[in-house]
Amino acid sequence: MQPVDIKSAAPAANSQPPGKAIPFGAGVYNEAMHFLIEEAYLLDDGLFNEWLGLLADDVQCTMPVRQSFNRKKGNGFNDGMNWLFDDKGALTFKAQRMYTDSAFAEDPPSRVRRIVSNLRLHETAVAGEYLAQSYLLLHRSRGDAHQFDTFSARRDDILRKTDAGWKLAKRIVLVDQAVLGLANLALFL
């Protein structure tokens, strides 16, 4: 199995994906969309151990910082600096932390609603692996604050179809804000 190259998608965030497009409504498209919806339900419901079961062992998740530039200079993503850069061990630790009595950043937990949409699915050079680009709109209600914290991003995922079901092999979170409006990212994106 090819190791996941975590940095290959971010610079190309605005370009057309290389593989063949899979049309809306195709069987594999529905399976991928179903996977992303189920994932959002698990996270919103705080079922972190179950969510870990959706991750490939070689999963890599990153989120480059973004700056506000003039249009001709591109989309502002910077590969040098990141908001997060987690492999399965890091994600597992962060998930297991949620079950301790001292994950104060998320305990009491936020009420979170992840809206996942606009899925664009493409084949990749690796059989059984698909580039799944989707939009994430996350609403976070924290404590007794009546305003929501909002987070929006495009996610470029590599989803892998295996005998044990679909797995998330790579995720690059392409955030829309240059300055995040969230006090922390103590949640999974």
């Binding site: 910082v65 506000s68 850069f85 932390r97 300055v179 922390n184």
Partner: protein, 461 residues
């Protein structure tokens, strides 16, 4: 026209009659909670703290080429920090002298001039006025260019970090940092070519007063074993063992309110070596200081003296605050797999009103570090620090609570307590300057921070 500063100078009381000096009890060592949300105090801070001290605005590696610039905030004011043609650095108000529009709206870039989009007035890299469209037709009597440049702050660089100061009469940056320079050198000047940032900083906004984070970085080791208890799951740390939380580590406070905690690496090295005593050089080979990849260690060993190398191998400067609103964090912590990983960042807590600040964090490595090492720093730093760092995520849960709780009529009558001091105990052979507080970690550096804060707020210095 009356200068706003002239009206305020000499003010010793708030509009409700409360004297500024009564907000602190220097004998009992208590500080009023009102400071965490009062809008009037915030305005005084912009004048007396942020316009009069050396404030961090970036790192020189962000603007390494002539014409490179970044836009930042200095206090609550937008500024451009740019590399001049002669290699020097300028920091200037990012506000057009014509009608007050933002001159530069990009976060970073390279340019030969700055042109305001509103009417097209142009400024040179050093902020001086260069020209305006239809100059002859618009201003037939001429323009006094000497009055039209962008307002400039003084700039100083130490350890690659760019500081700026609006106050022409303030002491130099070198004097401002004073004894603290020794410790900064061992973090940022430990390799011959210095450090560079991995990229632009993480920037995120927290609904809290800037001082909640700043005074915590002023030396609050005490909170770690409680607030960051989940770290114990990684290290096997016990909430009741002070050594597991470095509460025995010496702290240093220096004049002007700076401080650093010097972490004791003894337990970590003993765990690695299985109890065998190691020489300082052996220790540094096992775990080179944060930001220095193993292949660059020889450069560091050649640059630093024996005393400094021993210091780095035993109690290196780790975590501390640069007055008023910045912090450095330089240490190893175990990753989820138990393997100690290096972290190195500096950060500023930028005021955005009495109840809001921007957390701005840069991550550094030695100039020329390999991509593999940079990846290690990217992983380890974001795992622990900044917005997604599981340590600082918990801090960001506390600061907004301190802020909102201080708004209430009763809540703002409370005090923060700094009752307990370790005193000055400098271990024998300690190579650095400053007041060294060896012993159980108490409130010394934070109290030092508050004293400098009030010296400024009361205009005693």
């Amino acid at each position: 026209m009356t200068n706003e500063n002239d009206l305020k100078r000499g003010r010793t009381a708030l509009v409700d009659g409360t004297s500024i000096s009564s907000l602190v009890d220097r004998d009992k060592r208590e500080v009023s909670t009102r400071l965490f949300s009062d809008p009037e105090i915030y305005q005084l801070e912009l004048e007396r703290i942020f316009a009069k001290n050396w404030i961090i605005v970036g790192h020189e590696s962000e603007i390494s080429e002539v014409g490179d610039f970044v836009t930042r905030r200095l206090g609550d004011d937008p500024v451009i920090v740019a590399r001049r043609r002669d290699g020097g650095i300028d920091c200037m108000l990012n506000v057009c002298s014509h009608r007050g529009a933002l001159v530069c709206r990009e976060e970073a870039g390279n340019s030969s001039v700055f042109r305001c989009i509103y009417h097209g007035w142009i400024f040179n890299l050093d902020g001086s006025f260069r020209g305006a469209p239809f100059k002859e037709e618009m201003y037939p009597d001429g323009m006094d260019a000497s009055r039209l440049g962008l307002r400039k702050a003084r700039v100083g660089v130490y350890g690659g970090i760019i500081f700026a100061n609006w106050d022409e009469s303030a002491p130099s940056l070198e004097d401002y940092l004073g004894d603290y320079k020794y410790y900064l050198n061992l973090i940022f000047n430990k390799v011959p070519n210095g450090m560079e940032v991995l990229g632009p900083p993480q920037r995120f906004v927290i609904n809290a007063n800037w001082k909640t984070a700043s005074e915590q970085f002023g030396g609050d080791a005490y909170h770690a074993g409680q607030l960051h208890r989940s770290l114990g799951a990684l290290t096997g740390g016990s909430p009741t063992n002070p050594r597991d939380w470095q509460l025995h580590a010496p702290k240093v406070s220096t004049e002007n309110g700076h401080n650093i905690i010097c972490f004791d690496l003894g337990d970590m090295y003993r765990a690695i070596s299985g109890g065998k005593e190691l020489s300082p050089i052996e220790k540094l080979h096992i775990l080179p200081p944060s930001g220095v990849p193993p292949e660059m260690l020889p450069e560091m060993l050649q640059l630093l003296g024996e005393k400094e190398l021993e210091f780095l191998a035993t109690t290196p400067p780790g975590n501390g605050g640069i007055f008023p609103n910045a912090g450095v964090w330089n240490m190893h912590n175990p990753m989820y797999n138990g393997v100690p990983a290096p972290f190195l960042s500096f950060r500023t807590y930028l005021p955005l009103g009495p109840d809001k600040f921007e957390f701005c964090m840069w991550v550094l490595v030695a100039k020329g570090a390999s991509e593999e090492y940079r990846d290690l720093m990217r992983r380890s730093t974001s795992f622990m620090q900044g917005a997604s760092g599981f340590i600082e995520g918990d801090d960001a849960e506390v600061w907004p609570g301190q802020t909102s709780a201080s708004r209430g009529y009763i809540g703002r009558q409370g005090t923060l307590k700094y009752w307990t001091l370790t005193g000055e105990h400098k271990p024998e052979g300690w190579p650095g300057e400053g007041n060294v507080h060896a012993g159980f970690s108490r409130d010394d550096p934070q109290w030092n921070w508050w004293q400098r804060y009030f010296d400024r707020l009361e205009e005693k210095v």
